[in-house]
Symmetry: C2
Subunit: 159 residues, 2 copies
DNA sequence: TGAATATATGTAGTTAACTACGTATACTTG
DNA sequence: CAAGTATACGTAGTTAACTACATATATTCA
């Protein structure tokens, strides 16, 4: 066991990130193994448009929890891949409305079975004594109630 | 609730990363609030050298679980901050031995109480029904037994 | 109704990790 | 013991997110 794993909770951010990166790398391999040219980072945008077919840039950004510049750069890649297209909103000229192309919808169809496999695998790997999915949700909820910084401030005062 | 949180386990990598980033941001604020000029990303290196006072570049990289180029760039920053120093290993001229400076050790002394607060806060926020710290450890262990990709391959075949 | 404010999108530059590759020293082995 | 291999460190370039700033359009309210 190394120093960081031993340092426990102090290095939690590092470990979360490491885990995320590992899952993403393996995700890329899984798509590739099924002959799909798809990057895991595209998932949030594609899945969002799958559920809500026409959205503006900022609406997508809010749904996926990214900033709008990050979203714009993902959208650029997806547009280059011809998986999405966009047009100005006639009712509000500031907005650009994004939607899946036929190619994008067709790709989703082919990804569905792979998603099933990924879901089953993630379920297997996270279904331990303390369920990671649930744990994340619970921590997110905690921090929505009162941010980490605010909690530290409070604890620091009463210490 | 947004689409990504609803998509459940498929967007787990995104959520892990988001959480990690949030904790890191708040970490920066906490150090600053205690008058400390310290970035959370430095923690793994500094803490490793605190426990094991003299290490080479690659030894540190292995301890903190980063690649050596990432480690080198952290070490450069820390050297500029005069928190660490380094010298050639006389027994093996390829190696550079890294250690804390007096300033680095003194900073650790001042960080200790802040670390206590961070630990208490993280404990509070992660000590929900499913403990995030334990969950991460359990998932890491699972994936050490058999990688995520290998598991997906197996599940994909028997599906 | 026009001035101030808010919203939507876009661009530029930063950050913190990575991979790929190169060089120097050390080790191993035919 | 020299040639090949392994190890340690370093550099260059990439990636995928970010913040800060800029511009265009829409909304609000004095």
């Amino acid at each position: 066991m190394n120093v960081i794993d031993e340092s426990g909770i102090l290095a939690i951010a590092t470990r979360l990130q490491r885990l995320s990166e590992q899952l993403r790398k393996d995700g890329t391999l899984i798509y590739k193994a099924h002959g799909l040219d798809f990057e895991p980072k595209w998932f949030p945008v594609i899945y969002t448009l799958h559920l809500r077919p026409v959205l503006s840039v900022v609406e997508i950004a809010n749904e996926i929890g990214y900033t709008h510049p990050s979203t714009i750069s993902l959208l650029k890649e997806l547009e280059k891949e011809k998986l999405i297209r966009s047009k100005r909103d006639k009712a509000d000229e500031r907005k650009r409305l994004i939607q899946l192309t036929a190619k994008g919808q067709e790709l989703i169809g082919r990804m569905q079975p792979v998603w099933e496999i990924i879901i089953a695998t993630l379920t297997e790997v996270t279904n331990t004594q303390n369920n990671l999915m649930l744990a994340i949700g619970e921590v997110e909820e905690q921090m929505k109630q009162l941010s980490f910084f605010e909690r530290a401030k409070r604890i620091g005062q009463t210490d």
